[in-house]
Symmetry: C2
Subunit: 226 residues, 2 copies
Protein backbone atom coordinates (compact mmCIF):
# COMPACT_ATOMS: atom_id res chain seq x y z
CA UNK A 1 0.00 0.00 0.00
CA UNK A 2 2.91 2.33 0.71
CA UNK A 3 5.09 1.41 -2.23
CA UNK A 4 3.06 3.38 -4.76
CA UNK A 5 6.05 5.63 -5.16
CA UNK A 6 7.29 4.13 -8.43
CA UNK A 7 6.04 7.17 -10.33
CA UNK A 8 8.20 9.48 -8.26
CA UNK A 9 11.87 9.34 -9.27
CA UNK A 10 14.22 11.27 -7.00
CA UNK A 11 14.69 14.98 -7.74
CA UNK A 12 17.79 15.41 -9.87
CA UNK A 13 20.40 18.05 -9.07
CA UNK A 14 18.89 20.65 -11.41
CA UNK A 15 15.47 20.25 -9.82
CA UNK A 16 16.85 20.32 -6.29
CA UNK A 17 18.85 23.45 -7.08
CA UNK A 18 15.68 25.07 -8.43
CA UNK A 19 13.91 24.39 -5.13
CA UNK A 20 16.74 25.93 -3.10
CA UNK A 21 16.97 28.80 -5.59
CA UNK A 22 13.30 29.72 -5.27
CA UNK A 23 13.59 29.63 -1.48
CA UNK A 24 16.69 31.86 -1.52
CA UNK A 25 15.45 34.36 -4.13
CA UNK A 26 11.90 34.82 -2.82
CA UNK A 27 11.41 38.39 -1.63
CA UNK A 28 8.72 40.39 0.14
CA UNK A 29 8.00 42.81 -2.71
CA UNK A 30 6.55 46.26 -2.05
CA UNK A 31 7.78 48.28 -5.05
CA UNK A 32 8.32 47.97 -8.77
CA UNK A 33 5.01 46.27 -9.59
CA UNK A 34 4.15 46.52 -13.30
CA UNK A 35 0.75 47.66 -14.47
CA UNK A 36 0.15 44.36 -16.29
CA UNK A 37 -2.63 42.10 -15.01
CA UNK A 38 -1.74 38.47 -14.36
CA UNK A 39 -3.52 36.04 -16.72
CA UNK A 40 -6.31 33.98 -15.15
CA UNK A 41 -4.51 30.68 -15.75
CA UNK A 42 -1.42 31.96 -13.93
CA UNK A 43 -3.54 33.05 -10.96
CA UNK A 44 -5.11 29.59 -11.09
CA UNK A 45 -1.70 27.91 -10.90
CA UNK A 46 -0.72 30.05 -7.91
CA UNK A 47 -3.96 29.27 -6.07
CA UNK A 48 -3.49 25.60 -6.97
CA UNK A 49 -0.05 25.68 -5.35
CA UNK A 50 -1.58 27.21 -2.21
CA UNK A 51 -4.40 24.66 -2.20
CA UNK A 52 -1.82 21.78 -2.33
CA UNK A 53 -0.38 22.80 1.02
CA UNK A 54 -0.41 20.44 3.99
CA UNK A 55 -3.47 20.81 6.20
CA UNK A 56 -4.19 19.27 9.57
CA UNK A 57 -6.56 16.32 9.18
CA UNK A 58 -6.71 17.16 5.44
CA UNK A 59 -9.24 19.83 6.39
CA UNK A 60 -8.08 22.32 3.70
CA UNK A 61 -9.40 25.31 5.64
CA UNK A 62 -8.01 28.07 3.38
CA UNK A 63 -10.32 30.43 1.50
CA UNK A 64 -9.09 32.94 -1.08
CA UNK A 65 -10.46 36.28 -2.27
CA UNK A 66 -8.83 37.52 -5.48
CA UNK A 67 -9.23 41.31 -5.54
CA UNK A 68 -8.84 43.16 -8.82
CA UNK A 69 -11.45 45.90 -8.42
CA UNK A 70 -9.70 49.26 -8.10
CA UNK A 71 -12.35 50.74 -5.81
CA UNK A 72 -11.88 47.95 -3.30
CA UNK A 73 -8.10 48.22 -3.46
CA UNK A 74 -8.43 51.99 -2.94
CA UNK A 75 -10.50 51.35 0.20
CA UNK A 76 -7.93 48.81 1.45
CA UNK A 77 -5.21 51.36 0.80
CA UNK A 78 -7.06 53.87 3.00
CA UNK A 79 -7.19 51.25 5.77
CA UNK A 80 -3.45 50.79 5.35
CA UNK A 81 -2.78 54.55 5.46
CA UNK A 82 -4.61 54.99 8.73
CA UNK A 83 -2.88 52.01 10.35
CA UNK A 84 0.51 53.03 9.03
CA UNK A 85 0.13 56.54 10.34
CA UNK A 86 -0.60 55.15 13.83
CA UNK A 87 2.36 52.74 13.55
CA UNK A 88 4.68 55.56 12.45
CA UNK A 89 3.71 57.49 15.57
CA UNK A 90 5.20 54.77 17.77
CA UNK A 91 8.77 55.48 16.58
CA UNK A 92 10.90 58.52 17.35
CA UNK A 93 14.09 60.20 16.21
CA UNK A 94 16.19 58.51 13.57
CA UNK A 95 14.04 55.38 13.66
CA UNK A 96 10.91 57.41 12.91
CA UNK A 97 12.66 58.97 9.92
CA UNK A 98 13.77 55.60 8.68
CA UNK A 99 10.27 54.16 9.12
CA UNK A 100 8.65 56.95 7.16
CA UNK A 101 11.08 56.34 4.30
CA UNK A 102 10.12 52.66 3.95
CA UNK A 103 7.73 51.53 1.21
CA UNK A 104 5.63 48.87 2.91
CA UNK A 105 2.90 47.88 0.44
CA UNK A 106 1.91 47.82 -3.23
CA UNK A 107 -1.89 47.68 -2.85
CA UNK A 108 -2.62 50.09 -5.72
CA UNK A 109 0.39 49.34 -7.93
CA UNK A 110 -0.11 45.56 -7.97
CA UNK A 111 -3.08 44.90 -10.29
CA UNK A 112 -4.29 42.10 -8.06
CA UNK A 113 -4.43 41.62 -4.33
CA UNK A 114 -5.29 38.44 -2.46
CA UNK A 115 -6.98 38.07 0.89
CA UNK A 116 -6.49 34.71 2.59
CA UNK A 117 -8.89 33.41 5.21
CA UNK A 118 -9.13 30.29 7.34
CA UNK A 119 -12.24 28.35 8.29
CA UNK A 120 -10.62 27.14 11.52
CA UNK A 121 -13.82 25.62 12.90
CA UNK A 122 -14.62 23.55 9.83
CA UNK A 123 -15.80 19.99 10.44
CA UNK A 124 -13.67 18.80 7.54
CA UNK A 125 -10.90 16.51 8.80
CA UNK A 126 -13.15 15.52 11.71
CA UNK A 127 -10.93 17.31 14.21
CA UNK A 128 -7.97 15.00 13.57
CA UNK A 129 -4.80 16.58 14.97
CA UNK A 130 -6.74 19.50 16.46
CA UNK A 131 -7.72 18.14 19.87
CA UNK A 132 -4.38 19.14 21.40
CA UNK A 133 -3.20 21.91 19.04
CA UNK A 134 -6.23 23.56 17.38
CA UNK A 135 -4.02 26.40 16.13
CA UNK A 136 -2.76 24.03 13.41
CA UNK A 137 -5.86 24.89 11.35
CA UNK A 138 -4.59 28.44 10.89
CA UNK A 139 -1.03 27.19 10.46
CA UNK A 140 -2.29 25.11 7.53
CA UNK A 141 -3.40 28.31 5.85
CA UNK A 142 0.00 29.91 6.44
CA UNK A 143 1.66 26.91 4.76
CA UNK A 144 -0.63 27.59 1.78
CA UNK A 145 0.59 31.19 1.64
CA UNK A 146 4.23 30.13 1.57
CA UNK A 147 3.51 27.64 -1.25
CA UNK A 148 1.90 30.42 -3.27
CA UNK A 149 4.78 32.80 -2.54
CA UNK A 150 7.36 30.34 -3.87
CA UNK A 151 5.32 29.37 -6.94
CA UNK A 152 4.89 33.08 -7.69
CA UNK A 153 8.64 33.70 -7.49
CA UNK A 154 9.25 30.93 -10.04
CA UNK A 155 6.75 32.66 -12.38
CA UNK A 156 8.45 36.05 -12.00
CA UNK A 157 5.55 37.29 -9.89
CA UNK A 158 6.31 39.42 -6.84
CA UNK A 159 4.34 38.94 -3.63
CA UNK A 160 4.17 41.32 -0.68
CA UNK A 161 2.43 40.56 2.63
CA UNK A 162 0.72 43.61 4.16
CA UNK A 163 0.01 43.28 7.87
CA UNK A 164 -0.32 47.02 8.58
CA UNK A 165 -4.11 46.93 8.33
CA UNK A 166 -6.94 47.08 10.84
CA UNK A 167 -8.33 43.53 10.53
CA UNK A 168 -11.85 44.54 11.61
CA UNK A 169 -12.10 47.24 8.92
CA UNK A 170 -10.73 44.91 6.26
CA UNK A 171 -13.23 42.18 7.23
CA UNK A 172 -16.14 44.63 6.91
CA UNK A 173 -14.95 45.84 3.53
CA UNK A 174 -14.55 42.34 2.10
CA UNK A 175 -17.71 41.02 3.83
CA UNK A 176 -15.84 38.26 5.64
CA UNK A 177 -18.24 36.28 7.86
CA UNK A 178 -17.54 35.92 11.57
CA UNK A 179 -16.60 32.24 11.44
CA UNK A 180 -13.59 32.88 9.20
CA UNK A 181 -10.19 34.09 10.46
CA UNK A 182 -8.46 36.77 8.41
CA UNK A 183 -4.93 35.44 8.00
CA UNK A 184 -3.19 37.54 5.35
CA UNK A 185 -3.49 40.27 2.75
CA UNK A 186 -1.09 40.01 -0.19
CA UNK A 187 -0.20 42.17 -3.21
CA UNK A 188 0.69 40.22 -6.35
CA UNK A 189 2.06 41.23 -9.71
CA UNK A 190 4.78 41.13 -12.30
CA UNK A 191 7.73 43.22 -11.14
CA UNK A 192 10.71 45.12 -12.51
CA UNK A 193 13.01 42.72 -10.72
CA UNK A 194 13.81 40.92 -7.49
CA UNK A 195 16.34 42.40 -5.09
CA UNK A 196 19.23 40.33 -3.77
CA UNK A 197 18.58 41.27 -0.15
CA UNK A 198 15.43 41.88 1.86
CA UNK A 199 14.26 45.51 1.57
CA UNK A 200 14.40 45.96 5.35
CA UNK A 201 18.09 45.02 5.28
CA UNK A 202 18.88 47.17 2.23
CA UNK A 203 17.31 50.21 3.85
CA UNK A 204 18.93 49.75 7.24
CA UNK A 205 15.92 48.66 9.33
CA UNK A 206 17.20 45.25 10.50
CA UNK A 207 19.96 42.73 9.71
CA UNK A 208 19.56 38.99 9.17
CA UNK A 209 20.96 36.77 11.92
CA UNK A 210 23.24 33.79 11.55
CA UNK A 211 21.55 30.40 11.39
CA UNK A 212 23.84 29.00 14.12
CA UNK A 213 22.34 31.47 16.59
CA UNK A 214 18.89 29.87 16.39
CA UNK A 215 19.62 26.12 16.56
CA UNK A 216 19.78 23.92 19.66
CA UNK A 217 20.30 20.17 19.99
CA UNK A 218 18.08 17.70 21.89
CA UNK A 219 16.90 20.33 24.39
CA UNK A 220 16.56 24.10 24.17
CA UNK A 221 19.84 25.83 24.99
CA UNK A 222 19.81 29.21 26.65
CA UNK A 223 22.34 30.70 24.26
CA UNK A 224 19.76 30.38 21.52
CA UNK A 225 18.61 34.01 21.53
CA UNK A 226 19.89 36.46 18.95
Amino acid sequence: MVSDSVDHPPFNETERNAVYRVIAERRDVRRGFLDVPLPDDLIGRLLGAAHSAPSVGLMQPSRFIVIRDYGIRKAVHEIFRAANSRAAGSYSGEQAERYSGLKLEGILEAPQNLCILCDAGSERGHGLGRHTMPETAIYSTVCAIQNLWLAARSEGVGVGWVSILDPAKLRDLLRVPDHLTLVAYLCLGYVEGFASEPDLERFGWERRVDLKAVVSYDCYSEGCAP
Copy 2:
Protein backbone atom coordinates in the same frame (compact mmCIF):
# COMPACT_ATOMS: atom_id res chain seq x y z
CA MET B 1 18.51 51.03 -5.94
CA VAL B 2 15.85 48.56 -7.01
CA SER B 3 17.44 47.43 -10.23
CA ASP B 4 19.97 45.15 -8.58
CA SER B 5 18.14 42.25 -10.15
CA VAL B 6 20.61 41.70 -12.98
CA ASP B 7 21.98 38.61 -11.25
CA HIS B 8 18.56 36.99 -11.25
CA PRO B 9 17.57 35.63 -14.64
CA PRO B 10 13.98 34.36 -14.89
CA PHE B 11 13.35 30.77 -13.85
CA ASN B 12 13.40 28.57 -16.94
CA GLU B 13 10.70 25.98 -17.60
CA THR B 14 12.67 23.13 -16.00
CA GLU B 15 13.21 25.13 -12.83
CA ARG B 16 9.59 26.30 -12.69
CA ASN B 17 8.37 22.73 -13.17
CA ALA B 18 10.64 21.62 -10.33
CA VAL B 19 9.01 24.18 -8.03
CA TYR B 20 5.51 23.02 -8.92
CA ARG B 21 6.63 19.40 -8.69
CA VAL B 22 7.96 19.76 -5.15
CA ILE B 23 4.75 21.49 -4.10
CA ALA B 24 2.62 18.72 -5.64
CA GLU B 25 4.68 15.76 -4.41
CA ARG B 26 5.28 16.93 -0.83
CA ARG B 27 3.56 14.59 1.62
CA ASP B 28 2.92 14.44 5.35
CA VAL B 29 4.95 11.30 6.03
CA ARG B 30 4.18 9.07 9.01
CA ARG B 31 5.46 5.66 7.86
CA GLY B 32 8.33 4.09 5.97
CA PHE B 33 11.14 6.06 7.62
CA LEU B 34 14.54 4.39 7.12
CA ASP B 35 16.91 3.81 10.01
CA VAL B 36 19.60 5.96 8.37
CA PRO B 37 20.58 9.22 10.08
CA LEU B 38 20.60 12.34 7.93
CA PRO B 39 24.08 13.82 7.44
CA ASP B 40 24.78 17.05 9.35
CA ASP B 41 25.27 19.08 6.17
CA LEU B 42 21.87 17.97 4.87
CA ILE B 43 20.21 18.98 8.13
CA GLY B 44 22.06 22.28 7.81
CA ARG B 45 20.64 22.85 4.32
CA LEU B 46 17.11 22.14 5.54
CA LEU B 47 17.46 24.51 8.48
CA GLY B 48 18.96 27.08 6.12
CA ALA B 49 15.87 26.82 3.91
CA ALA B 50 13.67 27.37 6.96
CA HIS B 51 15.77 30.29 8.11
CA SER B 52 15.38 31.98 4.66
CA ALA B 53 11.62 32.25 5.12
CA PRO B 54 9.86 35.61 5.11
CA SER B 55 9.50 37.14 8.56
CA VAL B 56 7.52 40.16 9.64
CA GLY B 57 9.85 43.14 10.10
CA LEU B 58 12.75 40.77 9.29
CA MET B 59 12.51 39.64 12.92
CA GLN B 60 13.45 35.99 12.14
CA PRO B 61 11.72 34.69 15.26
CA SER B 62 12.10 30.94 14.57
CA ARG B 63 14.14 28.73 16.89
CA PHE B 64 14.95 25.08 16.11
CA ILE B 65 15.72 22.09 18.32
CA VAL B 66 17.18 19.13 16.43
CA ILE B 67 16.38 16.00 18.46
CA ARG B 68 18.36 12.83 17.81
CA ASP B 69 18.60 11.41 21.33
CA TYR B 70 16.54 8.23 21.54
CA GLY B 71 15.59 8.74 25.19
CA ILE B 72 14.07 12.11 24.42
CA ARG B 73 12.22 10.77 21.39
CA LYS B 74 10.91 7.91 23.55
CA ALA B 75 9.57 10.43 26.06
CA VAL B 76 7.95 12.46 23.26
CA HIS B 77 6.40 9.25 21.97
CA GLU B 78 4.85 8.64 25.39
CA ILE B 79 3.36 12.15 25.28
CA PHE B 80 1.93 11.32 21.86
CA ARG B 81 0.48 8.00 23.04
CA ALA B 82 -1.39 9.61 25.91
CA ALA B 83 -2.76 12.41 23.72
CA ASN B 84 -3.69 10.02 20.94
CA SER B 85 -5.52 7.73 23.29
CA ARG B 86 -7.62 10.70 24.50
CA ALA B 87 -8.24 11.81 20.89
CA ALA B 88 -9.28 8.28 19.88
CA GLY B 89 -11.88 8.32 22.66
CA SER B 90 -13.68 11.22 20.97
CA TYR B 91 -14.71 9.11 17.97
CA SER B 92 -17.25 6.31 17.87
CA GLY B 93 -18.40 3.50 15.62
CA GLU B 94 -16.84 3.14 12.21
CA GLN B 95 -14.95 6.43 12.58
CA ALA B 96 -13.31 5.22 15.79
CA GLU B 97 -12.19 2.06 14.01
CA ARG B 98 -10.81 4.04 11.12
CA TYR B 99 -8.99 6.41 13.50
CA SER B 100 -7.34 3.59 15.40
CA GLY B 101 -6.06 2.16 12.12
CA LEU B 102 -4.28 5.37 11.12
CA LYS B 103 -0.51 5.77 11.58
CA LEU B 104 -0.11 9.35 12.71
CA GLU B 105 3.56 9.82 13.61
CA GLY B 106 7.08 8.48 13.10
CA ILE B 107 8.72 9.80 16.28
CA LEU B 108 10.77 6.67 16.96
CA GLU B 109 11.28 5.47 13.38
CA ALA B 110 12.60 8.78 12.06
CA PRO B 111 16.19 9.11 13.37
CA GLN B 112 15.73 12.84 13.88
CA ASN B 113 12.88 14.97 15.09
CA LEU B 114 12.66 18.76 15.00
CA CYS B 115 10.86 21.05 17.40
CA ILE B 116 10.16 24.53 16.07
CA LEU B 117 9.58 27.49 18.36
CA CYS B 118 8.82 31.17 17.90
CA ASP B 119 10.14 34.10 19.91
CA ALA B 120 7.02 36.15 19.16
CA GLY B 121 7.91 38.95 21.59
CA SER B 122 11.40 39.53 20.21
CA GLU B 123 12.47 43.14 19.78
CA ARG B 124 14.09 42.24 16.48
CA GLY B 125 12.30 44.00 13.61
CA HIS B 126 11.32 46.80 16.03
CA GLY B 127 7.67 45.81 15.91
CA LEU B 128 7.34 46.66 12.21
CA GLY B 129 4.15 45.07 10.83
CA ARG B 130 3.12 43.81 14.26
CA HIS B 131 1.19 46.77 15.64
CA THR B 132 -2.02 45.70 13.90
CA MET B 133 -1.45 41.96 13.36
CA PRO B 134 0.99 40.63 16.00
CA GLU B 135 0.11 37.05 15.06
CA THR B 136 2.35 37.49 11.99
CA ALA B 137 5.36 36.67 14.19
CA ILE B 138 4.12 33.10 14.60
CA TYR B 139 3.02 32.99 10.97
CA SER B 140 6.64 33.77 10.02
CA THR B 141 7.69 30.60 11.80
CA VAL B 142 5.04 28.58 9.95
CA CYS B 143 6.41 29.89 6.64
CA ALA B 144 9.81 28.59 7.77
CA ILE B 145 8.32 25.15 8.36
CA GLN B 146 6.84 25.02 4.86
CA ASN B 147 10.18 26.04 3.33
CA LEU B 148 11.89 23.21 5.21
CA TRP B 149 9.19 20.73 4.18
CA LEU B 150 9.66 21.50 0.48
CA ALA B 151 13.47 21.49 0.64
CA ALA B 152 13.28 18.13 2.41
CA ARG B 153 11.05 16.67 -0.31
CA SER B 154 13.59 17.67 -2.97
CA GLU B 155 16.28 15.84 -0.95
CA GLY B 156 14.20 12.67 -0.68
CA VAL B 157 13.58 13.37 3.00
CA GLY B 158 10.12 12.75 4.42
CA VAL B 159 8.62 15.15 6.95
CA GLY B 160 5.63 14.52 9.20
CA TRP B 161 4.01 17.14 11.45
CA VAL B 162 2.79 15.72 14.77
CA SER B 163 0.19 17.88 16.52
CA ILE B 164 -1.25 15.13 18.72
CA LEU B 165 0.91 16.14 21.70
CA ASP B 166 0.23 17.92 24.97
CA PRO B 167 2.17 21.18 24.39
CA ALA B 168 2.79 21.77 28.13
CA LYS B 169 4.38 18.33 28.59
CA LEU B 170 6.50 18.72 25.46
CA ARG B 171 7.71 22.15 26.63
CA ASP B 172 8.76 20.73 29.99
CA LEU B 173 10.60 17.84 28.38
CA LEU B 174 12.54 20.05 25.96
CA ARG B 175 13.07 22.83 28.56
CA VAL B 176 11.41 25.47 26.42
CA PRO B 177 11.36 28.82 28.26
CA ASP B 178 8.07 30.62 28.82
CA HIS B 179 8.71 33.43 26.36
CA LEU B 180 8.83 31.03 23.38
CA THR B 181 5.76 29.66 21.60
CA LEU B 182 5.83 25.98 20.68
CA VAL B 183 4.75 25.95 17.03
CA ALA B 184 5.46 22.49 15.63
CA TYR B 185 6.99 19.08 16.19
CA LEU B 186 8.26 17.29 13.07
CA CYS B 187 9.68 13.86 12.27
CA LEU B 188 12.34 13.84 9.54
CA GLY B 189 14.12 11.08 7.70
CA TYR B 190 14.88 9.24 4.52
CA VAL B 191 11.87 7.18 3.46
CA GLU B 192 10.97 4.14 1.40
CA GLY B 193 9.01 6.35 -0.94
CA PHE B 194 6.45 9.14 -1.26
CA ALA B 195 2.82 8.27 -1.82
CA SER B 196 0.84 9.83 -4.67
CA GLU B 197 -2.05 10.85 -2.44
CA PRO B 198 -2.28 12.11 1.14
CA ASP B 199 -2.45 9.23 3.64
CA LEU B 200 -5.73 10.53 5.05
CA GLU B 201 -7.28 10.28 1.59
CA ARG B 202 -5.77 6.86 0.85
CA PHE B 203 -7.14 5.45 4.08
CA GLY B 204 -10.60 6.95 3.74
CA TRP B 205 -10.50 9.63 6.45
CA GLU B 206 -11.16 12.70 4.26
CA ARG B 207 -11.23 13.72 0.57
CA ARG B 208 -9.57 16.75 -0.98
CA VAL B 209 -11.93 19.50 -2.15
CA ASP B 210 -11.94 21.21 -5.51
CA LEU B 211 -10.02 24.49 -5.72
CA LYS B 212 -13.02 26.30 -7.26
CA ALA B 213 -14.97 25.73 -4.05
CA VAL B 214 -12.62 27.94 -2.03
CA VAL B 215 -12.09 30.99 -4.27
CA SER B 216 -14.12 34.23 -4.30
CA TYR B 217 -13.61 37.41 -6.31
CA ASP B 218 -13.37 40.97 -4.95
CA CYS B 219 -15.53 40.19 -1.90
CA TYR B 220 -16.22 36.99 0.00
CA SER B 221 -19.03 35.00 -1.61
CA GLU B 222 -21.29 32.91 0.54
CA GLY B 223 -21.04 29.85 -1.71
CA CYS B 224 -17.39 29.59 -0.70
CA ALA B 225 -17.83 26.82 1.89
CA PRO B 226 -17.03 23.22 1.03
